[in-house]
Symmetry: C2
Subunit: 201 residues, 2 copies
């Protein structure tokens, strides 16, 4: 149990309670078979009409040119720490259905489901992932040729959690502070919005 192990009010599976998003990454590569398993996990996520609207662009530090391009799609505040991760990825959604080009209201949600699977598989393999929304989607489109109907929404820093002491002071505390969440009664409602469900009372 580290301070990053969730203090849950009700028991949940350990690959969910152990998950957290570090800023500090160890200088250690991710084995290709582990990386493949992360995307295989994403592959089997639920998706509306089995549309699978997600795509990923991946680069490891062994490919410095591609890695640098993905890194340059992050906002500067994220580049500071994410450059130390051995693997970076962009999470991309297709906003319309492939079969009829109509808007897919579930597109971003389903990228979230796929990414959730990826995070769970990573945790099972003692890997850590830090998802980011602070990216430059237009730059990603330009650098990687992302087509019009798709858009980069997230980035992922993937690797092994590292020593927070290596972080700039402004970030260090985030990797050592306990994790906090709203209470169940604040977001699981029953009869009406704002009224806690009997299930969680």
């Amino acid at each position: 149990m580290t301070p990053k192990h969730a203090t849950t009010d009700h028991p949940i599976h350990e690959i969910l309670s152990r998950r957290w998003s570090p800023y500090a990454f160890a200088d250690r590569e991710v084995a290709p078979e582990d990386l493949r398993a992360l995307f295989e996990a994403a592959r089997w996520a639920a998706s509306s009409y089995n549309e699978q609207p997600w795509s990923f662009i991946v680069a490891t530090r062994r490919e410095p040119e591609a890695f640098g391009r993905v890194l340059s799609c992050l906002v500067e505040a994220n580049q500071v720490w994410a450059r130390r991760a051995p693997v970076l990825a962009l999470g991309i959604t297709r906003e319309t259905f492939a079969r009829n080009d109509r808007p897919n209201a579930a597109a971003r949600h389903d990228l979230g489901l796929a990414t959730g699977n990826l995070l769970a598989e990573a945790t099972a393999r003692e890997l850590s992932v830090h998802p980011m929304i602070g990216i430059l989607p237009d730059r990603a489109r330009e650098l990687f040729g992302i087509p019009e109907r798709a858009a980069a929404l997230t980035a992922l820093a993937i690797g092994y959690a590292g020593d927070p002491a290596a972080l700039p002071e402004s970030l260090r505390e985030r990797d050592t502070a306990p994790r906090t969440r709203r209470a169940l009664a604040e977001f699981v409602f029953g009869e009406r919005w704002g009224t806690a469900s009997k299930v969680v009372r």
Copy 2:
């Protein structure tokens, strides 16, 4: 191994490969402690700026009035089968940050992450969940008093998978057909959009 166990190209954790979304639900209640654990799992999902933009409205068949109201927020094609589930829920996102009311681009994505955790915990407990995007968000707002800055995006049917023979013929096949997904090389790219990453070649 049922036909619904994913045929993965690379090994992944069994709570991810076993997950699928049934149309047929057994006539069996979900224990309150199991239901609480599902939302506890959602609670600890990653979220951008720890905003936790998700909320849920939950009703069990033991509360017929509330259950009927949630059911009436689904499109008719979903009501046909979802009425047999012992538990229904609505998934709601807050589209702006609580602290400054600016748009949260991650809102739907993060509801997806929370729902992904819920699905994983359900699978660990031998429960099944069928997420839906086919809902009537305006009706949900009216019936449950969902505030302006939030919106219902999804519904979840929760319970134990049932006998597909009990389904209308049009749905039966969906519960017995093998699961299919795009190949990794079709959505994990490297140098450029459309070019498979070395990781998955």
